[in-house]
């Protein structure tokens, strides 16, 4: 049995398989060329779009029902939230730096940038907690009005997503420290990065719709 056939059998669905056997089978692509894990993350993020789509549309439908409680523009502190949004955006940049570091093989820089990303993300979450506390003091509890329920639910779901991302980033750092995240596994960083960038983009949408549009 030739080594070529062995390759093919051993790697169903990789681009190697597609290219070595493509000639034999009339050049029909039988995989996307993405690894299973990366493709799965893309597909999962597609599903997440509908999750946030549903939450955002619910918010849009309900936001005018402020009842006796404060309305959005009574309480929002746009400069503060703009700063924390900027912090989250910067974390996307450090994420890119982390990926490029591990792809170069610079594992130490990779860890540094992963930690920086997690730190910026934590700053954002801390800002959100601070913001929620401030709103609560100003009379906007979770059950105050239809608007308050919708607002806290939408932004809270996003905050949970950021937190999950931070946990994944820190897990990568721990694995790297234990020597289990070498250059050859840079795709793990790339996939976590996909998730992280997605969460950032979602925040840009939420920030625009919830805070900026009157």
């Amino acid at each position: 049995m030739s080594a070529e056939v062995t390759d093919t059998v051993a790697t169903p669905g990789t681009s190697v398989a597609a290219s070595t056997t493509g000639a034999a089978a009339g050049a029909h692509r039988t995989s996307t060329g993405l690894s299973n894990e990366k493709l799965a993350m893309w597909i999962f993020l597609g599903s997440e779009c509908l999750l946030f789509g549903g939450l955002v549309s619910s918010y849009l439908l309900l936001r005018r029902n402020v009842g006796d409680g404060p309305g959005p523009h009574d309480i929002f502190d746009i400069p503060f939230t703009s700063v924390s949004s900027f912090v989250l955006l910067m974390s996307s940049m450090t994420m890119v730096l982390a990926l490029s570091a591990i792809q170069r093989g610079d594992l130490r820089a990779n860890r540094v940038w992963l930690c920086a990303t997690a730190l910026l993300g934590s700053t954002f979450v801390a800002g959100q907690v601070y913001e929620f506390t401030a709103f609560y003091r100003e009379g906007l509890g979770y059950t105050t009005s239809v608007f308050s329920s919708a607002f806290y639910t939408l932004t809270g779901f996003h905050g949970v997503h950021v937190t999950v991302g931070i946990v994944m980033l820190l897990s990568l750092v721990v694995l790297s420290l234990r020597g289990r995240l070498g250059q050859e596994r840079s795709e793990a960083v790339e996939i976590v990065g996909l998730y992280w960038h997605f969460v950032d983009i979602v925040w840009i949408i939420i920030f625009t719709i919830v805070y900026l549009i009157p």
Binding site: N65, S148, L181, R185
Partner: protein
């Protein structure tokens, strides 16, 4: 080897020689009852899905029989109104989420990899996880019967009726959390199956050479992928209302209950196609085989399936014509509902054309497939009538609706499923189901089904509302209600015939690899298939590739058999494939050289944690913490455990002759099935 620079993601677990983390000894058994708890073989998981769903089918059927017994006569007092509400809620929820969806998942799990020439799904452990989560969600939902009352808000769970004010017990809580849990199962499995189909097809298996069943499942999985998050949002909002006093559906505070209806039906209408498209796929496999003709208009069937997948998102408000959504919306959704009948009609015509002038063999699978087409047409036609909004207003919430969706989901989906059972039983278990008992099953089921749900059209037109627990004498509903009840018990009997058929068929002679002279490549492997499916990855050159391996045209254009059946899928006396023309390299393949992913405890452990969290949300929050902790531990255990146990099965080969990272790398999640180079 070239592969090593084409790295797929390895979970950073077992780098060269490092011990994987984890508290468990890795399970090793692949046979025996224990193996079913740790299996990650897509075929075993498919069987688990199917068997579990059949048990839930019996439960949901019993609930249906209670409904029919209560409605058999006017002013009946078999169950009271409250119990009746719980029973019909659980009947609908069970049949949709715990019967038809997992039955379709059973077929998808078992046959998608076999039909695309793969050795397993893309993420075998996630696959096991999906099953256990589905089971956990189902058991959690059913535990509500023992814990203070099942849900009573109908399968649609409309607030404010399902809110705390009108449904103060825990029933709706169980319903919300149970559906959230099964939703996780569906979402994970949809991602898994989409990646499998997109990435793991055998060489030459281009998209337009995939069997129609694979296509329909692919469309279904995309629908699940996008529909599940929408119902998740709706369920979360209702849950926050009930658990944390949020105001999403609090009308006094100015909330709009229509929000639930919109979210629910944006999920709910695609859900209809999630239930029916796989059955269409099954029937599209059965009809050509028993008509001895290729499927008529394969691309039309495929593209109309895709069209249904897109259009299914634009018709949801036809469930809300009486909810006050305004004339413009009603007109728009009435039109889109009429249009979506077109691709469905295309399929029906293609099925009929497939049978046209075919040499039809009326075996049991074919009988079910034909009944599917006939009954689905009735259900489809009564469905299109709902697009006529005045008629819809008249029929809303009457038994006409009940008749319609049972013709689609039972007369359609379940008949397709039973056709699939009879068709693929010899492949899965190596033995046919008995033809005689099968025919008895079929005829009792057809008669029982039509006797149960046919009269409901009349009852609906006479104005009998659905979801009422009894009715007065003299409404003119007595006769047809009694007829429907008789039919329902006949249906129940037909299921018993099916169960008996399974028992009676257990000692049938082996069916062989290709008992139906079928067309698709799952029939080219032994029955039941070996754990690794294909000894050598098949190379596909045609649509219906297996057929083309068997038959060719001679110079006069007549169909002639290429080889005898034995030569196409020749087996030695142990049932293992031996070399032949179609599988030139089958010789020398030692199954011990094919490394499949190892069994694992983590999917089961992770799944068990979810109902813990759910019980905690209802009863006591410390259980939530415990469950969350268990999930976290299990996920870390899972992530650090290599998909293929480095200690399993490798010892006999001695030192590896090549770089271990290439194909021995244990951390490759997608089926590290290296046929080793020993045989070079």
């Amino acid at each position: 080897m070239a592969i090593s620079d084409q790295r797929m993601l390895e979970l950073p677990a077992a780098t060269n020689g490092q011990r994987p983390l984890g508290v468990f000894r890795r399970p090793t058994a692949t046979t025996g009852w224990r193996s079913w708890f740790t299996t990650i073989d897509h075929k075993k998981i498919g069987i688990l899905y199917g068997a579990t769903a059949l048990v839930f089918f019996a439960l949901g059927g019993l609930e249906g029989l209670i409904i029919r017994a209560q409605l058999a006569t006017p002013d009946n007092t078999l169950v009271d109104a409250d119990t009746y509400n719980r029973i019909f809620t659980m009947h609908g929820t069970t049949m949709i989420f715990l019967v038809v969806m997992p039955l379709m998942a059973a077929f998808a799990n078992y046959f998608l990899p076999l039909m695309i020439g793969a050795r397993d799904v893309a993420f075998p452990r996630l696959n096991g996880f999906s099953y256990w989560v589905f089971l956990a969600g189902g058991l959690f939902l059913y535990s509500s019967f023992l814990l203070g009352g099942a849900p009573d808000g109908a399968w649609t769970g409309y607030p404010p009726n399902a809110g705390l004010t009108f449904s103060p017990g825990h029933g709706i809580d169980f319903w919300i959390l149970g559906l959230q849990i099964t939703g996780i199962a569906s979402l994970v499995s949809s991602i898994n199956l989409i990646v499998t189909v997109l990435n793991m097809r055998a060489p030459g298996m281009s998209l337009m050479r995939m069997p129609v069943f694979v296509w329909m499942q692919l469309v279904t999985q995309f629908l699940l992928l996008f529909a599940i998050p929408v119902i998740t949002v709706a369920l979360f909002l209702l849950m926050f209302d009930r658990f944390f006093d949020a105001n999403f559906f609090n009308v006094e505070m100015g909330a709009d209950p229509l929000l639930w209806q919109h979210l629910f039906w944006i999920f709910g209408h695609p859900e209809v196609y999630i239930l029916i498209l796989p059955a269409m796929g099954i029937v599209s496999e059965i009809l050509p085989v028993f008509s001895r003709k290729p499927l008529f208009g394969y691309p039309f069937i495929v593209f109309s399936g895709i069209a249904i997948g897109f259009m299914g998102w634009g018709v949801w408000a036809h469930h809300m014509f009486v909810s006050g959504i305004g004339p413009v919306a009603v007109a728009a959704f009435a039109l889109s509902t009429m249009f979506i009948a077109v691709p469905t009609g295309v399929k029906v015509l293609n099925w009929l054309a497939t049978m046209w002038k075919g040499k039809i063999e009326l075996r049991v699978p074919m009988l079910f497939a034909i009944a599917f087409v006939a009954q689905f047409v009735i259900g489809g036609l009564s469905g299109v009538t709902h697009s006529i909004s005045p008629h819809n207003t008249q029929q809303h919430d009457t038994y006409y609706i009940v008749a319609h969706f049972h013709y689609v989901l039972f007369g359609g989906a379940m008949f397709g499923v039973f056709g699939g059972f009879y068709y693929w039983w010899p492949k899965v278990f190596g033995r046919h189901l008995n033809e005689g008992w099968g025919k008895l099953h079929f005829w009792t089921m057809v008669i029982g089904f039509n006797l149960t749900f046919g009269p409901m059209h009349i009852l609906g037109l006479q104005g009998m509302p659905r979801r009422i627990y009894t009715y007065a004498e003299g409404m003119g509903w007595d006769f047809w209600n009694l007829a429907a009840t008789v039919g329902a018990f006949l249906l129940g009997a037909s299921f018993l015939v099916f169960v008996w058929n399974i028992v009676a068929s257990r000692n049938n002679p082996p069916a062989g690899a290709d008992p139906w002279d079928a067309r698709t490549i799952e029939w080219s492997v032994p029955s039941p298939p070996p754990p690794y499916n294909f000894a050598v990855e098949p190379t596909v050159t045609h649509l219906d590739d297996f057929w083309h391996q068997k038959y060719t045209e001679n110079e006069f254009g007549h169909l002639v058999r290429r080889d005898t059946g034995e030569e196409v899928h020749s087996l030695d006396e142990h049932g293992a494939p031996v070399a032949d023309e179609a599988h030139p390299s089958a010789d020398g393949v030692d199954e011990h050289d094919i490394h499949l992913p190892s069994p694992s405890y983590w999917p089961l452990v992770t799944a068990v944690a979810l109902p813990l969290i759910a019980y905690g949300l209802i009863y006591t929050y410390w259980l939530v913490g415990l469950g969350a902790l268990l999930v976290l531990v299990a996920l870390y255990g899972w992530a650090t455990e290599p998909p293929v146990d480095p200690e399993a099965d490798h010892a006999d080969h001695g030192p590896e002759p090549h770089e271990p990272a290439a194909e021995h790398d244990p951390a490759r999640e997608p089926v590290a099935v290296g046929v080793e180079e020993d045989e070079e």
